[in-house]
């Protein structure tokens, strides 16, 4: 296990990550976690900020919440996919938005609370996606 985690980290650490979450505590906790795997993690407080940041820099993976002020996660993902179709998107949500809508706009989705296993699954999927 330990070995696999370390290998995963080695494989994904150079990817650029964008993370949108409006809840501060959640954002801090998750950002800290993501930082353990990725060297470059940028975070945003809402969909609009996320979209703005996405336009400025090249990212490979976007993590996002759905229910956020100003612009929600789904709309942000839609805009992002219009800019870069190849982006890998992960939705982490607490809301009860219909599943098909999420599946439509994101590669992976998990309902909060997110378990450690969920996070590892995400890492594995990223590895597969980018053939790392």
């Amino acid at each position: 296990m330990n070995q696999e985690i370390k290998e995963l980290k080695e494989k994904v650490k150079d990817l650029h990550i964008l993370y949108s979450e409006d809840e501060e505590e959640m954002r801090i906790g998750t950002e800290l976690f993501l930082n353990k795997f990725f060297t470059s993690v940028d975070s945003a407080c809402d969909g609009q900020e996320g979209l703005d940041k996405f336009k400025e820099k090249e990212y490979q993976v976007v993590f996002t919440d759905i229910m956020m002020p100003n612009m929600d996660g789904l709309k942000m993902l839609k805009n992002i996919k219009e800019i870069n179709e190849n982006i890998f998107t992960v939705t982490l949500t607490a809301s009860e938005v219909r599943e098909d809508k999420i599946i439509e706009s994101s590669n992976l989705y998990f309902r909060k609370p997110i378990t450690y296993e969920n996070m590892i699954t995400i890492m594995r999927e990223i590895v597969n996606k980018f053939h790392l």
Binding site: K6, K9, E25, G29, Y116, M119
Partner: protein
């Protein structure tokens, strides 16, 4: 039994008893009046009879007097009148040898009265205080009557008296001395116009009493029938009214039950709403806790764990549990059974309400603007008012989301006037359609579709405000939305 209807029934029973007493009294009065009338009628009839008898006797006497007396054959029954011995032609012998003797008016009358009883046993007697014939001596009652005639100058006197357990009418009429009387009585010093005697008539009342009792029997019978009909009529009416009151009570109780069921339904709906709000509020802290735990696991796996980080993660987890605990307190407060009133500022009730609902408003980008000028506490069922606030704010939230309003805003104003505390909740969700706004307080009316609306929220809000809080609730469309105004009296 409901107190209101118990009082109504008591009143009805009191009315019933009063009316029965009144009717009984009236009928009793009428009955007494009828009996009295019959009694008077009996006496008058008897008196009339006595008078008639007297008149008849007088007419007969008049007739005899008009002939100067009549001659009849002298017999044992009619011997020559010794009191007429001073009359020269008292005894006659006809040319054929037949003997005749003179009967003067008094003599004829005397014979008539002695020998013939009138109708119903009426018996007459002629008498005086100053007698010619001692047989005509006045009895005790006659003496009294004659004395009254002398003293009071009246011509008639009558009395109803009992003798040997039988009732009689005693009637006496004075006799005024006429020319014809002097034939016999001149020597006694009589003068024309003197009252020197009278005719007494005694009639047994038996027949009149019999008639009277028979009539009374009939009257009693009629009155009893009438009384029974009236009493049964009143009883029937009373029964109908009583049944109608009981029916009313039944309807009232049914209505109350219906209302209780609706209240329970709306409470359940509100509870469901609350549970989903709680679930939403819990998901975030739980997610955060999970993420801190994930951090620990990641550190362990990557062998980067250090004591300080570990402590930080644990602190963060504990902070989140406080949040969870707070949410549970809010939840429990909301569903605390609210049987007793409390004295509270309405703005505090609103704040309690917002503490559970504000989060979901913020998530939907709805701004809440508060404007409180509330200083007087009121004594109310605060949980129920909170339910009303939640209903209205929840409706506003849903309208703002459904209509995709930008700059969505709910404005809450709580202020006071002399008598009441007024809470106004406005949104900018474009308002309620005019054809619907009149129905929004109707039970089971919903615009939200079967799945999301019970149609009871505003109905129960109105019921709560009007029946439990003694206030009013009004709705009106404003420029860009809806305004609900809830007025709660200060006392």
């Amino acid at each position: 039994m409901q107190e209101l209807f118990y009082i109504k029934l008591q009143e009805l029973n009191q009315y019933y008893i009063k009316i029965i007493i009144l009717v009984s009294a009236i009928i009793l009065m009428l009955l007494s009046w009828s009996i009295y009338n019959e009694y008077e009628h009996k006496k008058i009839s008897a008196l009339e009879h006595a008078k008639n008898t007297f008149e008849k006797d007088m007419m007969f006497r008049e007739w005899v007097a008009s002939h100067g007396g009549v001659y009849v054959p002298p017999t044992d029954r009619t011997p020559p009148n010794p009191y007429l011995s001073h009359i020269p032609n008292r005894d006659l012998i006809t040319t054929t040898g037949k003997k005749l003797t003179l009967m003067n008016p008094a003599y004829t009358l005397k014979q008539l009265m002695t020998e013939y009883k009138g109708m119903y046993g009426a018996k007459g007697r002629i008498t005086s205080l100053n007698l010619l014939n001692p047989k005509n001596k006045a009895n005790e009652w006659e003496v009294k009557a004659l004395q009254i005639f002398e003293k009071k100058k009246q011509l008639e006197f009558h009395e109803f008296l009992k003798k040997d357990n039988k009732e009689y009418i005693y009637y006496m009429h004075a006799l005024v001395t006429e020319e014809s009387c002097l034939k016999c009585h001149l020597h006694q010093g009589y003068k024309v116009g003197d009252i020197r005697g009278g005719v007494s008539i005694v009639i047994p009342m038996e027949k009149y009493n019999r008639d009277f009792y028979n009539t009374i029997k009939d009257i009693f019978l009629i009155y009893i029938v009438v009384y029974l009909i009236v009493v049964f009529g009143i009883r029937y009416t009373h029964k109908i009214l009583k049944l109608s009151i009981l029916e009313q009570e039944k309807l009232y109780v049914e209505n109350q039950k219906k209302e209780e069921i609706m209240l329970a339904q709306s409470r359940n709906a509100a509870m469901g709403e609350m549970i989903s709000m709680i679930a939403h509020q819990w998901r975030q802290p739980i997610s955060v806790i999970a993420m801190w735990a994930n951090n620990i696991t990641a550190d362990v796996d990557m062998e980067t764990l250090n004591k300080e980080d570990c402590k930080k993660y644990a602190d963060n987890i504990v902070a989140q549990t406080k949040h969870l605990s707070q949410t549970i307190d809010d939840f429990r407060n909301f569903f605390r059974p609210d049987k007793s009133k409390e004295t509270i500022l309405i703005k505090d009730v609103m704040e309690d309400c917002l503490s559970v609902i504000e989060k979901s408003l913020q998530n939907n980008n709805i701004l809440i603007e508060r404007n409180y000028e509330n200083f007087i506490e009121v004594n109310i069922y605060s949980r129920e008012l909170m339910q009303v606030f939640i209903n209205i704010i929840k409706n506003a939230k849903e309208a703002l989301i459904d209509n995709k309003i930008k700059n969505a805003k709910i404005t809450i104003k709580i202020y006071e006037d002399d008598y009441s505390v007024i809470s106004e909740i406005r949104d900018n969700a474009l308002g309620i359609k005019p054809e619907v706004i009149g129905k929004i307080f109707d039970p089971y009316f919903t615009t939200k579709g079967v799945k999301s609306g019970t149609g009871l929220g505003l109905y129960m809000s109105k019921t709560i405000v009007e029946k439990h809080l003694n206030g009013t609730i009004e709705v009106k469309n404003i420029d860009d939305g809806v305004s609900f105004v809830i007025t709660i009296p200060k006392k």
